[in-house]
């Protein structure tokens, strides 16, 4: 019992200063992905949408526009399982975001622009 | 005109009611006529009883010279019997209002009503008896008539057994009472009760104490003192509800009356030890009575044990009174007499009420088992309110009558230090402690006794469809009104009882008991004081204050009303509630040395250890200690004696001829000598 007390004194305060100060260790927390629009071809986006088990990634309906449509990413549905990153590592990276609270549900649905259609062939990430 | 004349009217009315019941009881109109006559007799008896409280003792009246009863019928209306007679009359009125809706007109009912009215006459004769023989004849009449009462449905389970226990113990008690009377009358030379009372001193202290102890045991059989009480829980459940009410409300009180008669009039002992015995026996009875009450699921058995408890309280009060008398504390002697008699009146009212309500419940819901009832406050609202008044009274909660009489008893006991002897004082306080335990357990028991059947959700279908249509309400309602009147009108009651005490004991307690402004003082001004009237007013006001605060401070902004937070339970089921036995489980665990519980668990198959193979049968029993360890050995001893004697009557004709020959030979020899 005494040793515990002494050890605690030596170790010092372990409580985080968050939210008064930023928290350094938050970088390593698992969290939702960030996407590289330059590597997101329509075909890649389709594969990502198929790989996501919780339906967080969906292809937006394309209206034949020049920008090639969008990938709808629902941050709320993401479980940070990592399958999208495994499916297309060139297009997906960690976002490092953990302060994700939202006051309305629609704010959590993000539109990730896809690479334009006329750019479908050729360029790689 | 004396109170005795009122008793004559009552006896006449009851005799007419018995005849009317016997002849016409099989029809509805006859039933009502019989009950009307019974009510008339009850009113007369109540009037006579109340009057004799103030009138004092009438002279002894001798009726007739027939030698059939061993002499003329000697009657006297005494002050001591006044409360008991008033109670008898009032209970008779209440039961007469109750019976027409409770009983079905039939030949069995006709016999029952006749027996009931004969029992009423017997009780009145016991209370109005002026002579020893009259008393004993009336006592036996009452016992036998009550035996017939209990046997209303002779073929039902347990009826014959209950009635047999009642009769057997009644006769055993009768023997002891006869012995007590014989001792007193032979030592004093008188057979009238007033004669014995006046010349009690000539009997000698030892004989008086012996007579008192015989009377304590003999009347204790009827009053239900432990261990002589075993007939009560057997006989009360099987008798019809108004029969049980009569037994508990009046007949048990007659046993108490007998003890009071010997303690205060006929054989007041000169030492303290008979009083100590009575007080100790009473205290133990009270505690054991309520402890067994906690283990009962049948409402009537529960109430029977509660009667035992209250009889114990009354006998404790009388015993303590005797101790104070022997120690020279006359004021406390009179106070405890008053307190005991007051408790008799109170208990008669609320116990009768509770038994009548138990009968209503049994007819409405079809069962007496508390664990099959529940939620009756919604199905039987008027009965529930009346039963609640009775429950408050018997739990001795202020402001009702039970509280006033128990307060007086406690205040009398707490002044035990005024006797000179330390040992006596300690024993009196010990008895007060046991009574305190009893009081606490009584509240617990009656929370269970009212809460389980009346509150919560119905546990079975028959409780859910119980209906109040056609159930008697007037009789119990009268008793509930009496309970309230006895408490709010406590000053009036105490005034009348102090006059009684003056007649019986010669002590004028009036100024020491009620010093004017509605306050009651237990005989010594430096001890305690209490005002039942002011307490009632205060409690009513105290309940009104939160209401006023709410009305004045209601939030003006819009507010929402939502259900009470219940833990988010989706659907309540009746089996989620307490059952009667689980509610009293803490008591059974604490006092398991008394209960000696035994549990048996069995299941159909042991294949599945989780019990999914079928229903599990769980049975928990309380050992009937007195039957097993006292009565059964006695009965075995008697049977053993009988076995010894049996060879005498072997059925062998040759042996009988030998007897004839031996007797003739003996007759010749004796004739020759």
């Amino acid at each position: 019992m005494t040793l515990w007390f002494v050890r605690g004194l030596r170790r010092g305060v372990v409580t985080t200063r968050y939210p008064a100060r930023p928290e350094e260790s938050a970088r390593f927390l698992p969290g939702p992905p960030a996407f590289r629009p330059g590597a997101l071809t329509r075909e890649t986006a389709g594969r990502l949408a198929g790989a996501c088990p919780s339906g967080a990634l969906r292809l937006a309906e394309s209206e034949g526009q020049a920008d090639g449509g969008a990938l709808l990413f629902d941050v709320g549905r993401c479980t940070a399982c990592g399958r999208c990153a495994a499916e297309a590592p060139q297009a997906v990276t960690s976002s490092g975001a953990f302060e994700l609270a939202a006051t309305s549900r629609s704010v959590l649905i993000k539109e990730i622009p896809l690479r334009g259609r006329n750019d479908d062939t050729g360029r790689t990430a | 005109m004396t109170p005795l004349d009122c008793f004559y009217i009552a006896a006449g009315a009851w005799g007419a009611a018995a005849l009317a019941g016997l002849l016409t009881g099989r029809s509805g109109g006859g039933l009502r006529a019989c009950c009307a006559l019974s009510a008339l007799g009850g009113a007369a008896a109540a009037a006579g009883g109340g009057w004799s409280l103030l009138y004092g003792n009438t002279p002894v009246v001798s009726l007739g010279t027939a030698t059939v009863t061993g002499g003329p019928l000697q009657l006297q209306a005494t002050s001591l019997a006044g409360v008991f007679a008033a109670l008898l009359g009032f209970v008779a009125v209440a039961i007469a209002c109750y019976a027409p809706r409770y009983h079905e007109p039939s030949p069995g009912t006709a016999v029952y009503l006749a027996a009931y009215n004969v029992a009423l006459i017997g009780c009145l004769a016991v209370l109005a008896a002026g002579g020893m023989v009259t008393f004993l004849v009336a006592w036996e009449t009452m016992s036998l008539a009550c035996y017939l009462l209990i046997l209303r449905h002779p073929r039902d389970r347990g009826v014959a057994r209950g009635a047999f226990w009642f009769l057997a113990l009644s006769e055993a008690g009768f023997l002891l009472v006869v012995a007590a009377f014989v001792i007193l009358s032979s030592k004093t030379g008188y057979t009238t009760l007033s004669g014995i009372a006046a010349h009690a001193g000539t009997a000698g202290g030892g004989w008086r104490a012996a007579a008192f102890l015989l009377a304590l045991c003999g009347f204790g059989f009827k009053a239900g003192l432990v261990p002589l009480h075993v007939w009560l829980p057997e006989a009360h459940p099987v008798a019809p509800a108004d029969g049980s009410a009569f037994l508990s409300g009046v007949v048990v009180k007659l046993g108490v009356y007998g003890i009071a008669l010997f303690a205060f009039r006929l054989a007041p002992p000169s030492g303290t030890w008979p009083g100590l015995v009575a007080m100790g026996g009473g205290a133990v009875t009270a505690a054991i009575g309520i402890l067994y009450a906690m283990a009962e699921r049948d409402i009537k058995r529960f109430l029977a044990y509660s009667t035992i408890e209250n009889a114990g309280i009354i006998v404790t009060a009388f015993g303590a009174a005797m101790i104070f008398h022997a120690s020279g504390q006359q004021a406390l002697w009179a106070l405890l007499l008053i307190a005991g008699i007051y408790h008799v009146a109170n208990h008669g009212c609320y116990k009768t009420l509770l038994f009548l309500e138990a009968g209503v419940t049994e007819h409405a819901a079809g069962t007496r088992d508390m664990d099959r009832l529940g939620g009756l406050v919604h199905r039987l609202p008027r009965s529930a309110v009346i039963a609640f008044v009775g429950t408050l009274g018997i739990a001795a909660l202020p402001p009702l009558n039970g509280f006033v009489s128990e307060w007086l008893i406690f205040q009398g006991l707490f002044q035990g230090f005024r006797t000179g002897s330390h040992l006596t004082g300690i024993l009196i306080v010990l008895a007060a402690g046991i009574l305190g335990l009893t009081g606490g357990l009584a509240i617990y028991a009656f929370v269970r006794g009212f809460g389980i059947p009346y509150l919560g959700m119905p546990r079975t279908r028959s409780a859910a469809v119980a209906s109040e249509k056609g159930q008697p309400v007037l009789g119990p309602a009268l008793l509930a009104v009496a309970c309230v009147a006895l408490s709010v009108g406590a000053p009036v009651v105490l005034f009348a009882l102090s006059r009684t005490a003056r007649t019986v004991t010669g002590v004028t307690l009036g100024p020491l008991l009620l010093p004017g402004n509605l306050t009651v003082i237990p005989a010594h001004t430096d001890f305690a004081a209490f005002s039942p009237t002011y307490l009632t007013v205060f409690l009513v006001c105290a309940l009104a204050v939160p209401l006023l605060i709410y009305l004045a401070g209601r939030p003006r902004a819009g507010s929402t009303t939502v259900p009470v937070w219940d833990g988010g339970i989706v659907a309540f089921r009746p089996r989620m509630q307490y059952s009667a036995m689980t509610f009293s489980a803490p008591t059974r665990v604490t006092f398991d040395a008394l209960y000696r519980p035994s549990v048996s668990v069995s299941r159909l198959s042991h294949d599945d250890p989780a019990g999914r193979s079928g229903p599990v049968h769980y049975e928990a029993r309380v050992t009937p200690v007195f039957q097993r360890y006292l009565y059964r050995p006695l009965v075995h001893a008697l049977e053993w004696l009988a076995d010894l004697v049996r060879p005498v009557q072997s059925g062998d004709v040759n042996l009988y001829l030998l007897y004839v020959f031996a007797v003739i030979l003996l007759a010749y020899l004796l004739g020759a000598v």
């Binding site: 960030a34 590289r36 941050v75 976002s95 939202a102 | -």
Partner: protein, 164 residues
């Protein structure tokens, strides 16, 4: 009262002392583990003036996890109704936000189907830091950041983008 006024009131009243009632509507209990860690020394909820309470009558904020299985609907509504106003509902975890379970005969799939949610906290499970941020947003002490996060990264930029 407009939402802004409400938030202001709530921030004023709750920002420094808040009682939280947790409600598990059928989760896998990992969100509960994270919520439980809030009271541990590393995150220490109490230094911010937030407390857990079991009684909805004493609670200001209802912290809901799980996909709102249908069997729990009555209990959830009773808990919400038992809370005196003003009250806040915070939905925690991907299950409560509609991610994991669909709307089928056994679950609603999202807490929003039964209770009116004020703050959504994504994550599976959200870390205690994310929960602290979410609670701060609920009482108006912290600002909502996810609105401005694009969740995109430059093609050749391996640096972490987003909130900091």
């Amino acid at each position: 009262m407009t939402p802004e006024e409400l938030r202001e009131t709530i921030a004023r009243q709750f920002g420094r002392s808040l009682h939280i009632r947790t409600l598990d509507t059928g989760s896998c209990a990992v969100c509960e583990q994270e919520i439980r860690l809030l009271a541990a020394p590393h995150y220490d909820l109490h230094r911010l003036g937030f407390f857990f309470t079991p009684a909805p009558r004493h609670a200001d904020l209802l912290l809901v996890t799980g996909p709102m299985i249908r069997a729990f609907e009555v209990a959830a509504r009773k808990t919400y109704d038992a809370m005196p106003g003003p009250k806040i509902v915070v939905a925690v975890g991907a299950c409560a936000l509609g991610g994991v379970y669909p709307d089928d005969p056994f679950t609603y799939g999202t807490v929003d189907a039964v209770l009116p949610v004020d703050v959504w906290i994504p994550g599976c499970p959200p870390s205690p830091l994310a929960l602290l941020h979410g609670l701060g947003v609920a009482v108006g002490r912290l600002t909502e950041k996810v609105r401005d996060l694009p969740f995109t990264a430059e093609d050749d930029d391996e640096r972490i983008r987003g909130a900091r």
